[in-house]
Symmetry: C2
Subunit: 484 residues, 2 copies
């Protein structure tokens, strides 16, 4: 991937329109701001049980957004990343419907994981407790398949049926998806929820050695098509470090809670500690289409710090995030806090820009979620209409609304920070981080004579970015400054 | 129980107020209409995860409704039935909270059913499929109990923790509930969801022989306190007949779908067939706080007739019931159709009154749900606000609204039918039913010289109730007539 900022967005929710509108936006008002775009699921349909993450046909573009020709046109203009949903298919997919109809005689029968396939001798309580779980219930659903009842593995919702990635039809299915994505001109894929893809009795069924083997085999298939692979997992930080060594790209999901902790407590120590050990082959994020993963900072923050962090998000968001989180709304992962990042900072422009400056300087590819790009606030009306927790941060912008939001000073400054990140030569060089006090943090990039530096002083919330293209200019030019 | 009509109601939802208001209503505008009232859960709190069916303290009256003194005052005026929730307690009950805190060392540890308590050697897929289920997911939830994770049995929601009714603390708990209910002057209890109360590996865990043993033991304890017992189960009609032989009272849950079928298709044959075999120690209902149990008529109606019945309910209710049923809303039992009975008949007054007349004549104690008494229609606003399917038929009436609804002609006629049912001596005698054609049905009660007769002709929807107190009066007096 290019060493430039990436946009992550739903086509329709950002543009109010189609792939053509997204193309126009990136060529027009957002020209130069992003080196790539991660287009969230655009397959048929975009509005299933999990907002596109439960495709009925993973090889078809939802016609409301356009066609594969439109995807190719966008991909000619900028690098495009797409999701490949490897763990499950929709219960309304043709494959599952065939199984529902024909049962054991369906050629897709073995493509879906039954309970007894994994636990032929039954599961004891310890087996069930060993499972890595997102919610307190068990990841199984009963289905009546051609007159016979079976228990199927359903990690996410009842409508998302987990597949056996090792079964011939499972492999054929994923190969077909990869081929279509390749033909669509897509250069990178995000393996959604891949940590859950392989199940084995007596294990956590999450990122077990067999999962790594699957990822590495699938990555080889992608590489053969000149496609890079981003592995999406939420895991303990030590586990994330271990995973990062074995794959192309990972997310740095610990960053959002650590940045929030630094800004809330004015103590950057845990963040600095993380900067020393974190993987460099990371996509850095502050926000995504999912919630803020507090658990991603376990053991980087103390239990009481994690609790305080969650409380502060709720306070800063005037408790709106409470209505979207855990059992208060429909949620696949009850541990993530649903809130826009801007609201998590109480809509304080200066703190928000410091967070984004930190994201731009932390090594990796900064990815900015469309609501975050526009410093968007919680969409309580959408949350209430759908009852889906994550919808609080999945606003639908109408056509033309983006241009309007781009005129806000906070958004303009963010755009200028991203543009600097994309164009300054120093970011191709070496990185150093220094901290002279818990509330002080300095990050510097240097390549030959060129350098760029971020100084943050959390007490007083002052920050500045200075840079220069020549070594001769010792003091550099102030690209951005904030606070007292 | 008295051979008179019963009201079933939530105190607050019917009166907009307290037990005192309910007492006033029954002594005032509803005087003589009911011989008893089943007060839906009034324990602390009435607004938990399952509208009172998940008490935190099953021995305390929710103070928003009043006190045990108020319950006793009501019970002095009329017979009162109360729910005893035997299957589970709230996750916020003091017993469960103690277990959460102290784990294995809590004296309540064994009161809650773990997965391994029932399946010490694990559960195979066949074991899980054998379970009688209300929903397609499995009835288990993981909980962290004093640092250790366990899998607990949760038949209904995550917040309702199933108890081991055979454990000393489980027994003590149920005894305490029974004692309080007795001291509250209550004459009858409804054993809520008692079919699920006993679990045993390899069985359906529903109404197994051990469940009957428990019901009979618990009934003996109730009888010792002069309390009658109504067993709430939804089951196959043959099973219901078998259950009825072993308990005081059952519900006739097959009646609502059969009455709807008769009115929709103008063919009373399945209803007549049921009248020949059904238990007589039944509470007859058309509507309750739950949905319309289509499955209660399995094998009394053909599969295609059941499908047509469901479709017709949706059509008659202008598809409002669809929004409240199955996966379209939050539902504990996805098979029940949520809709007011009045809306299930498309708000057609004459058909509604024929249905109620049938209910009054079918042997058993007719119980009328408060929304049904007022011929209430679907509360779509409440459904949308809460997302709870059954709330479509759990309207909140404001203080004074009942008096207003009682002035509607359809409600006045229903009240006069109920009053006749309560006061005419014939209903203490012998019952006969005759059907000269599929669309014709006649039911007659006769005691000495007194008689009361319902004639229904479904073609043309004409019906009449005639009666007399003396044998001399052969033609009798027309108490009600409807249609052409």
């Amino acid at each position: 991937m290019k060493n430039q900022a990436q946009l992550i967005a739903y086509v329709d929710r950002l543009t109010g329109g189609t792939f053509r509108d997204l193309e126009g936006l990136l060529a027009g008002p957002l020209r130069g701001v992003f080196g790539a775009v991660h287009v969230l699921p655009f397959f048929h349909p975009i509005d299933g049980a999990d907002a596109g993450f439960d495709p009925i046909d993973h090889t078809a573009v939802d016609p409301r957004l356009g066609s594969w020709d439109d995807v190719r046109a966008l991909a000619r203009q900028t690098d495009v990343m797409a999701d490949v949903i490897v763990n499950h298919v929709s219960s309304r997919s043709s494959q599952f419907e065939d199984y529902l109809r024909c049962g054991a005689s369906s050629r897709f029968a073995g493509m879906f994981l039954t309970y007894s396939h994994v636990f032929p001798h039954g599961a004891r309580e310890a087996d069930l407790l060993a499972l890595h779980r997102l919610r307190p219930d068990l990841p199984f659903t009963t289905y009546r398949i051609a007159q016979e009842e079976v228990v199927l593995w359903t990690t996410f919702t009842r409508e998302q049926i987990d597949i056996d990635v090792h079964h011939a039809e499972g492999r054929r299915y994923l190969d077909a998806v990869l081929t279509h994505v390749h033909q669509g001109g897509i250069r990178a894929i995000r393996l959604d929820a891949v940590g859950f893809a392989v199940k084995k009795a007596g294990t956590s069924c999450f990122m077990i050695p067999e999962t790594f083997a699957f990822i590495s085999e699938f990555t080889a298939r992608a590489h053969a098509l000149d496609i890079e692979v981003l592995v999406e997992t939420h895991a303990h930080y030590l586990e994330q470090i271990r995973i990062a060594r074995q794959v192309d790209w990972v997310y740095d999901f610990a960053l959002p809670p650590l940045v929030l902790h630094a800004l809330y407590t004015r103590d950057a120590t845990p963040l600095t500690r993380w900067l020393d050990v974190r993987p460099r082959n990371a996509i850095t994020v502050l926000d995504t289409h999912d919630g803020i993963g507090i658990r991603d900072a376990v053991d980087l923050l103390l239990p009481e710090e994690l609790d305080a962090l969650a409380d502060t998000i709720h306070e800063r968001s005037r408790h709106e995030s409470r209505e979207a989180t855990g059992g208060a709304a429909h949620n696949v992962d009850v541990h993530q806090i649903n809130c826009t990042f801007y609201d998590a900072l109480g809509c304080r422009d200066e703190e928000y820009l410091i967070a984004r400056a930190l994201q731009c300087f932390v090594p990796g590819i900064p990815q900015v979620y469309y609501v975050g790009l526009l410093a968007g606030s919680n969409d309580m009306a959408l949350l209430r209409r759908t009852g889906v927790g994550r919808d609080i941060n999945r606003r639908y912008y109408a056509a033309g609304e983006v241009e309007q939001q781009l005129r806000r000073p906070v958004v303009q400054t963010l755009v200028s920070l991203l543009t600097l990140r994309n164009t300054h030569p120093a970011f191709g060089g070496a990185f150093t981080v220094t901290s002279t006090a818990p509330d002080c943090l300095a990050m510097e990039w240097r390549d030959g004579g060129a350098w760029a530096r971020l100084d943050v002083r959390l007490t007083g919330m002052s920050a500045s970015v200075t840079c220069s293209r020549t070594d001769a200019d010792r003091r550099g030019e102030v690209a951005w400054s904030s606070g007292r």
